[in-house]
């Protein structure tokens, strides 16, 4: 990132209630409450790609057993996730791994800005939870055929690949392989609206992700509750 310019994708911002039923704030409030009651080993945070995963069987099969919490909200940008993390969604929990999946909704920002916003989220997580490992999922391709958003998301992933390793506890995981066919199309069998994953689409990405999570959880020594301040 050049100069002293502020990256707008790294500025925390709540979602304004324009529709009139305050659903974003209701979901955030519920997540803050969940932090009071739960002791998750894994925290998922991000946009609808995270949120929708919990509605499919795959969540109960692979991630509930890992004591995972799901703090996904549809439509969220990096700015919204930053705001939520700064306003209670990390209070009282000590997950060993945090999975971050956000960026595809940052329509006002450039690829570099989006990657910077994701990096800011990873930095916030490692500073608030010094012992957590952060796994950042790559942005998936989207749209029926080739289009500028695919190029943008791929560029975001490119920046993340080189920047994330500099944060010792963070790593990048690309789960997008195989979605774009040789003719450049994406199938509605994988993404029912060329953006959101079907059950089959989630099954494809969940395996490498859960393998990685199991590996990290295996490597992380158990903390005694008494030693937590």
């Amino acid at each position: 990132m050049s100069g002293d310019e502020i990256n707008p994708a790294a500025v925390a911002q709540a979602v304004e209630d324009v529709q009139g039923d305050d659903r974003w704030m209701s979901q955030h409030t519920r997540f803050v409450q969940e932090c009071k009651d739960a002791e998750p080993e894994v925290l998922f945070i991000g946009d609808s790609m995270v949120q929708l995963m919990q509605q499919y069987e795959i969540w109960r099969e692979l991630f509930s057993p890992l004591h995972a919490l799901n703090f996904g909200i549809g439509g969220d940008t990096t700015c919204n996730v930053l705001w939520r993390l700064q306003n209670g969604e990390l209070d009282n929990i000590r997950p060993k791994v945090t999975v971050v999946w956000v960026g595809t909704n940052n329509h006002e920002h450039s690829a570099e800005q989006v990657a910077g916003g994701i990096l800011a989220i990873a930095q916030l997580l490692t500073s608030r939870l010094p012992k957590t490992k952060v796994v950042v999922l790559g942005l998936l391709a989207r749209g029926d055929g080739p289009n500028p958003l695919r190029e943008k998301n791929a560029a975001v992933n490119g920046f993340l690949r080189s920047w994330l390793p500099r944060l010792g506890q963070a790593q990048f995981l690309d789960v997008g392989a195989g979605f774009v066919h040789s003719d450049g199309t994406i199938s509605t069998r994988d993404m029912f609206d060329f953006l959101h994953l079907t059950a089959a689409g989630y099954r494809a990405i969940a395996k490498p992700l859960s393998d990685l999570l199991l590996q990290i959880l295996d490597e992380t020594p158990e903390e005694k509750r008494a030693s937590l301040v």
């Binding site: 305050d22 979901q27 509605q55 499919y56 989207r142 749209g143 289009n147 609206d193």
Partner: protein
């Protein structure tokens, strides 16, 4: 409503690609070409509540056996569904029943306008498929606690109920099993973001819907 031009909810309007990947039109084209070799008895059309239904097991269990097609598009308001049905999505099929579920995304429109939009769709279906029956599903409550959108949606349902009461080819079915609790709250176990249904929420909605549909199909077969 004097003319459809004065009601934006009843004026066919394609989705606009604001994001840059043309997904709305891709989906529409996909539905048009998808319908060319299918012979559905039931067509589901509407917004994300229709679209998401297709993703869960309840679709395979209850609606695939009825030979149903799903033309749901997330974010669609009445004017978008009107455009899609006017531009090819009814071109190659003759379903016996059309299940219409739309209206919750008509932001900025009044309940009267939304009702007008729904009735415009009902009329369009009658024009294009003279033998089909249109089952309009009531718009569900939304938001964690009472709010103006719940009132608007309830008013839409009331107005549509009145408008279809004199029509032999359409009716309104209330599919809300009682999502709003006595304290006015909606649970995330039913509507995971206080708008979209969980698989559990869909089960509660779809059991009575399925029974009603089967009854309608049997009646259509007798005619």
């Amino acid at each position: 409503m004097s003319s459809e031009d004065s009601n934006p909810a009843a004026t066919p309007t394609p989705g606009v690609d604001t994001q840059g990947d043309g997904r709305w039109m891709s989906l529409h084209n996909h539905f048009v070409s998808n319908s060319k070799d299918k012979e559905p008895d039931v067509l589901f059309v509407g917004d994300s509540l229709v679209q998401l239904l297709y993703q869960f097991e309840v679709w395979q269990d209850l609606f695939s056996p009825l030979h149903a097609l799903n033309f749901g598009v997330g974010g669609d308001a009445t004017q978008h569904v009107l455009w899609r049905l006017s531009n090819g999505e009814l071109g190659h099929i003759s379903p016996k029943v059309v299940v219409l579920w739309v209206g919750t995304n008509n932001h900025g429109h009044t309940a009267e306008q939304i009702c007008g939009g729904i009735m415009a769709i009902v009329q369009l279906i009658k024009d294009k498929l003279p033998k089909a029956y249109t089952l309009v599903l009531g718009v569900l409550p939304r938001g964690k606690m009472p709010n103006p959108l719940r009132e608007r949606n309830a008013q839409v349902n009331k107005l549509v109920q009145e408008a279809v009461s004199s029509l032999p080819h359409a009716s309104l079915l209330n599919v809300d099993p009682g999502f709003v609790h006595s304290d006015g709250s909606i649970s995330h176990q039913d509507l995971y973001d206080y708008l979209h249904l969980t698989p559990q929420g869909y089960q509660a909605v779809c059991q009575p819907l399925h029974a009603h549909l089967k009854g309608l199909l049997e009646k259509q077969a007798e005619n």
